[in-house]
């Protein structure tokens, strides 16, 4: 055994190895018993391979030079204590030895035996090799020996003759080897590095009292006693070291769970056990009451280690280990068997314990089972065998039991540690999946493009839970249907189901073909009430039957057995539904997976929301930019428009001034009219612009001055005003009795605008015809009529006005735009069409404000356009009823 295992320095000093106090006691006793003057003890020193004198004692009377020095007084006090000890026979085997030799007559107190620090012969610290001097000789002879001083000098010539002058000279020597008794030797079963522990040597000063032969036997016995004491002391140290070792275990067990693994621990157990006792084989078995299984975790079969056990323990049920169960779980005892190969039947009932994971141990001589007790519970066992008979002494068993007790705690800790390591591992996995999720969320949150975001979303989800298909459905605007927006499909099932050859863009188109019924379907109810739910194959079939073609293909061809559906909600509002499945799989998601999915859905919901809002903002911004561009174009055009009447005003007024002397009154009138007309044009333009600005920016309700207006009169006025500026002929076909309830000025503006437009886009020789007819609302084109009135039984009279030109017409794509603010039929600036671009926008607003509608009735490129409007018609006021014969007038420039 080595305490170095625990990394601590060797705790025992040489003094502790050879307990001086004990040796003194023994030597004193021996000196007295043998009536000697003094003696010394030499002990074998393993490190040098020599006998070393460790103690030399003598009667005080024989130590004249040392009387009165401090050592003496120490010795006295020491001796007193010793005396008390010796008086107690039960404390040692002394009592048994006393009959061998009578104590000498000299009283203890009168001439105490004290240690001799310095002596010529056998000084403390002197060393003797095998056969050297009297001590070495006795060592070699290995038997007690009596020799006279003269013979000693002759035989060994130990020191100078002169040296003896300073020291009393012994007459006789009695020398005996300190030997371990045969019995103890066997019991310990130790390999003996030396047979002789030491040599004890007594000497007699007085030549008159010689040692006798019987003293040889007694010395033999006494030296054996010394040997036993020394041995005992060694055992005590062994025990102390065992305790140190256990302390180590305890340290290690408190050091859990950071350092120790079960594999390391059992290795230490094995080292420990082999250092304490003889072990041929060892088996460590655990019982896990959770699994109710028995595990062999460590086995050595006659020195051969089973390395696989720690990774892959042998598992057994208690039923198949009934004997083990009986001994450990019911008797809960240490079992020591002395196996007699001659009588195998004697231990046949324990055969189960002797065979198994650690091979066949039935040929061993000794078997020991130590239960591992955790309080009253037995958590396992440690089994040992030895090829020696009676290999385990009760003391050793005690040590092993203690050790097992300690390691049981450690092993339980180790198991706990393993468990917590497992849970740590799980926690780590969780952390990793969380990290994955968060990075996924980050990806999702950073995407502002809705479609890209949804594709990322389904991909992330599918990867997160290792599903093969993940689809995101969005509720259609009326909540009637669910429309797929993104599919992540590792199987290609969906693509295959559609026989799509070219992948992505087509794929995306196809995705939006997947419509699932929502309102009134099983989904509606489930989405409303569940945080998540599964669709089984029968529910899928039910849905498929209610689905359109795309949805049915999706549901049937992707082999859904069980599909997880998670409503994605932003606050209370359903953003969509996430559907996750793997074809042909019946998977139920684990709670942690569901948790992750719900978390990611929650996050995705707001991300989707944000992206949608962003898209709206982007669209609004694009619209704003378009409007801005239109406004810019408008300003360019409008400034041009403004400049024309300004040029006229400027030109004519400066002409009046320049030619004031020679100008005729007729000319003045004409020029003034021109100026007036230009001024009117200018003021119309400005009011158009301000009206448009007002309507656009503030969306104010127009201030109308409603009253009866004769359509013909209003049209004539507009036509006359415009005819100054245009070349085309305007024909009015309007009955004089058509009266409208409207704002006269607005009506005139509308007609002027329509005529102006017609003129602008028509060739100079083109005709412009305005017709007016009285009718009722129900007679008008369907798409221009507000049927709520008709539905309520009203069919009010209206006047329909149409302005037809022979212009270039308006292309189909422009027909919808022309009523917007600032939009003119698109012509480049190099071939400009004059006009503010506000006309139709304003016109429509005016007409609608007055209870009518304005629309482009038809437009054929190259042939011309027809703009129409209607307004509520009223009976003509009686006093203004005038029959106007001609219903057409030609006005032109």
């Amino acid at each position: 055994m080595s305490t170095a295992t625990w990394g601590e320095p060797e705790p025992l000093t040489a003094v502790e190895k050879y307990p001086l106090s004990l040796l003194k006691k023994l030597l004193q006793e021996m000196v007295r018993q043998f009536g000697a003057t003094g003696g010394c003890i030499a002990l074998y020193d393993e490190s040098v391979g020599l006998m070393v004198i460790r103690l030399h004692m003598r009667l005080r009377s024989a130590v004249p030079t040392l009387v009165g020095n401090s050592t003496t007084s120490d010795s006295v006090s020491f001796q007193r204590r010793v005396t008390v000890d010796l008086a107690n026979p039960s404390s040692s085997t002394l009592g048994r030895m006393k009959h061998i030799s009578q104590p000498l007559s000299q009283p203890l107190e009168t001439d105490p035996i004290i240690p001799v620090e310095k002596s010529v012969l056998f000084p403390v610290g002197a060393t003797y090799s095998y056969g050297q001097d009297l001590i070495g000789y006795t060592w070699r002879k290995n038997e007690p020996l009596i020799i006279r001083h003269e013979d000693y000098l002759v035989s060994f010539q130990p020191v100078d003759q002169i040296s003896f002058l300073q020291d009393p000279i012994p007459a006789w020597y009695l020398c005996a080897p300190i030997q371990i008794p045969e019995l103890a030797f066997d019991a310990l079963n130790r390999k003996q590095p030396f047979k002789v522990l030491g040599i004890v040597l007594l000497y007699q000063m007085s030549s008159a009292i010689a040692f006798q032969q019987k003293h040889r036997v007694e010395a033999q016995q006494f030296s054996e006693r010394i040997a036993l004491y020394i041995l005992n002391d060694q055992l005590r140290h062994l025990h102390r070291r065992t305790k140190d070792y256990m302390k180590g275990f305890q340290q290690i067990s408190t050091a859990f769970p950071t350092a120790v693994k079960l594999s390391n621990l059992v290795e230490d157990v094995y080292q420990f056990v082999t250092n304490v006792v003889d072990v041929s084989s060892m088996l460590l078995t655990f019982y896990d009451r959770d699994t109710k299984k028995i595990y062999d975790v460590f086995a050595i079969d006659n020195g051969k280690r089973n390395d696989f056990l720690l990774e892959q323990p042998v598992v057994d049920s208690p039923e198949s280990r009934q004997v083990w169960w009986q001994v450990t779980q019911e008797e809960k005892r240490t079992l020591l068997l002395t196996l007699d190969s001659q009588e195998p039947e004697k231990y046949s009932k324990f055969e189960e314990l002797l065979k198994g994971t650690w091979g066949d141990q039935s040929r061993a001589e000794t078997f020991l089972l130590l239960p591992m007790k955790m309080f009253t519970r037995v958590v396992g066992s440690l089994c040992l065998t030895s090829s020696r008979t009676d290999a385990y002494s009760p003391e050793e068993i005690l040590i092993l039991e203690t050790m097992v007790q300690i390691i049981t705690v450690s092993i339980e800790n180790a198991k706990l540690y393993d468990q917590s390591r497992q849970s740590l591992l799980k926690a780590k996995q969780r952390e990793e999946s969380l990290a994955l999720m968060y990075s996924a969320l980050q990806v999702i949150s950073s995407v502002l493009h809705v479609s890209e975001l949804l594709h990322k979303f389904v991909e992330t989800v599918a990867n997160l839970v290792q599903a093969e298909m993940c689809t995101f459905f969005q509720l259609s605007s009326g909540e009637q249907e669910l429309v797929a927006q993104a599919i992540y499909d590792t199987t290609g099932q969906w693509r295959d189901a559609n026989h799509s050859t070219n992948k992505d863009e087509k794929h995306d188109d196809l995705i939006e073909m997947i419509h699932l019924p929502f309102k009134g379907s099983i989904l509606e109810h489930l989405v409303e009430n569940e945080t998540f739910f599964y669709l089984d194959s029968s529910m899928v079939e039910e849905l498929a039957q209610a689905s359109g073609e795309g949805g049915a293909i999706f549901l049937r061809e992707t082999h859904i057995q069980k599909m997880l559906m998670i409503p994605v909600r932003y606050q209370m509002e359903i953003v969509g539904i996430l559907a996750i499945h793997t074809p042909h799989s019946n998977r139920t998601f684990r709670p942690e997976e569901l948790g992750a999915l719900l978390a990611i859905c929650g996050q995705a919901a707001s991300a989707i929301r944000n992206a949608q809002l962003f898209e709206q903002i982007r669209e609004a911004y694009a619209e704003l930019q378009r409007m801005d561009k239109l406004k810019d174009e408008f300003i360019v055009t409008a400034s041009h428009e403004l400049r024309t009447p300004l040029s006229a005003i400027s030109g004519y007024s400066s002409l009046l001034k320049r030619q004031s002397g020679r100008i005729t009154p007729q000319q003045i009138l004409r020029f003034a009219t021109k100026i007036g007309s230009a001024t009117q044009q200018l003021s119309d333009l400005v009011s158009n612009m301000t009206e448009a600005a007002k309507m656009g920016a503030l969306d104010k309700k127009l201030e109308l001055q409603l009253g009866p207006v004769q359509l013909l009169a209003a049209s004539e006025m507009a036509s006359t005003m415009l005819s100054i500026n245009i070349e085309q002929k305007i024909t009015l076909q309007i009955a004089a009795d058509i009266w409208l309830q409207c704002d006269a000025m607005r009506l005139r503006q509308v007609i002027t605008n329509l005529l102006d437009n017609a003129a602008k886009y028509s060739p100079p020789d083109g005709r412009i015809i305005v017709t007016g007819s009285a009718t009722t609302l129900s007679q008008l084109p369907e798409d221009q009529v507000d049927y709520t009135l008709i539905a309520e039984g009203f069919d009010p009279p209206v006047a329909l006005v149409r302005v037809c030109d022979e212009g270039e017409g308006i292309s189909h794509e422009d027909q919808q735009k022309i009523f917007e603010k600032f939009v003119r039929a698109p012509r480049s600036l190099t071939t400009p069409i004059r006009g503010s671009g506000l006309g139709l926008y304003i016109c429509r607003r005016y007409i609608e404000a007055m209870g009518g509608r304005l629309w482009l009735e038809q437009s054929i490129p190259g042939e011309g356009s027809v703009f129409s409007f209607y307004l509520p018609c009223i009976d003509p006021p009686i006093e203004k009823r005038i029959d106007v014969e001609p219903d057409s007038q030609n006005i032109g420039s």
């Binding site: 041009h640 400049r643 040029s647 030109g651 002409l655 320049r658 500026n725 070349e727 071939t831 004059r834």
Partner: protein
């Protein structure tokens, strides 16, 4: 002298402007021809007469700019006719890039018109 035989051509799509130009120049003793767009003007310019052309920029059919390009490409046309561009303030930059003899900024007074015209008409 070339100037002696020159006539004045007003090219503008707006009848108000054409009328006004005619009224003004009649008082000054000139006879003018009018054209409603660049194309009509070109027909006249290709004839035998030499013209001082008052040319509007923005016109349908053929704009002032396009007519300028046509004239510029033909040295004979360029030599015979003088071009005065009638341009608004915001188009001056573009007008200046054209190879014309002068620019009359709209709106203008009669004195400006006469001042710019006289060097060409003697």
């Amino acid at each position: 002298m070339l100037n002696q035989t020159r006539k004045i051509l007003v090219v503008d799509d707006d009848p108000v402007i054409r009328d006004m130009m005619a009224d003004i120049l009649e008082f000054e003793g000139y006879t003018i021809s009018v054209a409603r767009n660049g194309y009509e003007a070109l027909q006249l310019l290709l004839g035998d007469e030499n013209y001082l052309v008052f040319l509007d920029m923005m016109m349908p059919a053929m704009s002032g700019k396009e007519l300028c390009a046509v004239i510029e490409a033909d040295p004979y046309l360029r030599e015979r006719h003088s071009i005065i561009l009638m341009s608004a303030m915001d188009n001056l930059e573009e007008a200046a890039s054209l190879q014309v003899d002068a620019i009359l900024q709209k709106p203008f007074v009669v004195d400006d018109l006469i001042d710019i015209l006289e060097p060409y008409m003697g």
